[in-house]
């Protein structure tokens, strides 16, 4: 089964309707004291987790909204946030 993604506006849809927006990397670093190296690391370095990671997606063929989901990169299946929290607590 291909990837399905749950859009917060439109509900569960075919993954081909979406555009991948990269890993969730936390808030943008403070400008003050920011070195080019630190900025470069923030922009370009990824964790590439083999497992569940938080990601940005855009519903480009639908409502156009940007949102975050949790996806298991080993199975290419979306994980509900409830499941992610439960598994992290084990």
């Amino acid at each position: 089964m291909a990837l399905t993604i749950t859009c917060p506006i439109c509900g569960k849809r075919n993954g081909y309707e979406f555009r991948f927006g990269g890993e969730e990397k936390g808030p943008r670093p403070e400008e003050e004291g920011l070195t080019p190296e630190a900025w470069c690391d923030y922009v370009h370095l990824n964790k590439c987790v083999a497992g569940v990671q938080e990601e940005w997606w855009c519903h480009k063929d639908g409502c156009g909204s940007w949102f975050k989901i949790h996806r298991d990169t080993t199975t290419n299946l979306e994980k509900e946030i409830k499941t992610v929290i439960e598994e992290a607590g084990k």
Binding site: I9, C10, N14, D61, G62, C63
Partner: protein, 211 residues
């Protein structure tokens, strides 16, 4: 002084039998050989507005309350209001009352000229749609009227299902104007086996005003 000419992005090859001029649009009211349905009707001349406001729940365009959650629609007095997201709604003047004009308030944008709008009505509408999109119109989770924002023939569209029961079925589809020719080609090609034919606005008017 010459009048401006407003041209629909939808060009249908059937021969018009009856036409009218309104607001500089040439509107076909009836085509030759419309058949017994299903029908494809060009509604690109109908006034369509986009409303965007952070306090959208407090706004009542034309006295009609906007549905409270995305995907829900309301059809009242020929006006269709579709809730798109937290801050946005689209408004279609489907029944074509002459007194409906853009409200004199911030947040409204007239998108009539920028998008095509067609109706597919009659029996087998969803059999045609099924050939062009993976959106599940027949899911019991959705009660008509409801809005889908998704791909139709690979083009991002707004699709409002107004009725999904038998011969009274019908959808309104809008997408960017530039896709007009190819979208109509795709719909007519998919509908060929179901005898989908272009029809004039009279068909749509009879359908939308039926009891």
């Amino acid at each position: 002084m010459k009048n401006i000419k407003r041209v629909s992005p939808v060009q249908l090859k059937s021969s018009p039998l009856k036409t009218e001029q309104k607001d500089n649009w040439d509107i076909v009211m009836e085509y030759a050989g419309e058949g017994d349905g299903p029908y494809l009707v060009d509604l690109s001349h109908k006034l369509r507005l986009d409303l965007q406001n952070g306090e959208i729940n407090a706004i009542t365009p034309f006295g009609i309350a906007i549905p409270d959650s995305p995907g829900k629609c309301v059809l009242q007095d020929g006006l269709l209001i579709n809730r798109m997201n937290k801050t946005q709604a689209s408004i279609y003047n489907l029944a074509g009352q002459d007194n409906v004009d853009m409200p004199d308030a911030t947040g409204y944008t007239d998108v009539t000229e920028s998008a095509l709008c067609v109706a597919i009505i009659g029996q087998q509408v969803f059999a045609i749609c099924e050939k062009l999109t993976s959106l599940d119109f027949m899911s019991p989770d959705y009660v008509a009227p409801f809005l889908f924002q998704g791909p139709f023939s690979h083009v991002p569209c707004q699709i409002v299902t107004l009725n999904k029961t038998g011969d009274d079925s019908g959808i309104i589809l809008t997408c960017s104007r530039g896709y007009g020719r190819d979208m109509i080609h795709a719909i007519l090609d998919a509908g060929d086996e179901f005898n989908l034919k272009p029809a004039g606005e009279n068909r749509f008017r009879n359908w939308i005003t039926r009891p």
